[in-house]
């Protein structure tokens, strides 16, 4: 996958498949949806990202954390419980599964993200 950011379309980030051109995810940095979001990485996530057990990676400095947007009932939703996490130091990437974030967020008509639990 290639993460593409177009300045005119910030804060959107497009995750484009390098092998299948028809596959392109639209995503947003998680903190544009929930400003105090913190990612909880499982042991499997850390292993896949090559992050040491005792390391405390920070979003922005060490990680990019993106929420995939998907259509649901004519609205857009983002599942912050399953963000795409990219290790900026080695560009390894996983889709994390964070059970401590039970809510989806739905984009309201005024452009605000509303939790849908």
């Amino acid at each position: 996958m290639v993460a593409v950011e177009v300045p005119a379309q910030r804060p959107l980030v497009f995750l484009q498949s390098a092998e299948k051109p028809e596959i392109c995810f639209v995503s947003l940095p998680v903190r544009t949806i929930q400003p105090d979001y913190n990612v909880a990485l499982s042991d499997e996530d850390r292993a896949a990202l090559h992050i040491a057990d005792d390391a405390h990676p920070e979003i922005g400095a060490d990680l990019i954390c993106l929420a995939l947007l998907f259509p649901s009932e004519n609205r857009l939703e983002a599942n912050l419980g399953a963000p795409i996490v990219i290790n900026l130091h080695n560009l390894r990437c996983v889709q994390s599964s964070n059970e401590s974030v039970p809510c989806h967020y739905r984009l309201g008509e005024e452009g605000r993200w509303e939790p849908v639990c």
Binding site: A8, P11, F25, V26, L68, L69, F70, L107, G111
Partner: protein, 92 residues
Amino acid sequence: MLVVRRRAGEAIVLSGEIEIEVIEISRTRVKLGVRAPRHVTVLRRESAVLAQQNQSAASLLMQHPETVGDLLRLLGSVTANSSQTSQVGADM
């Protein structure tokens, strides 16, 4: 929903070919073992939901190309003058 009480080491069988065994019971979790033919997909429920969401997400632009414009308008993004595009390759 059929409810069955089982102890560690006991199992249930579905359709005569899928066996689900209770391997271990702790205070907050149950460890299950599943024996099933190769053609049977076994997923955690949340993984199945996530797979469905990912499929929808992957086809968002193909099926709803107007999404980007709508999104930017809703999010109130300011159109930048620059046309430079940045890319990061990620090993997924």
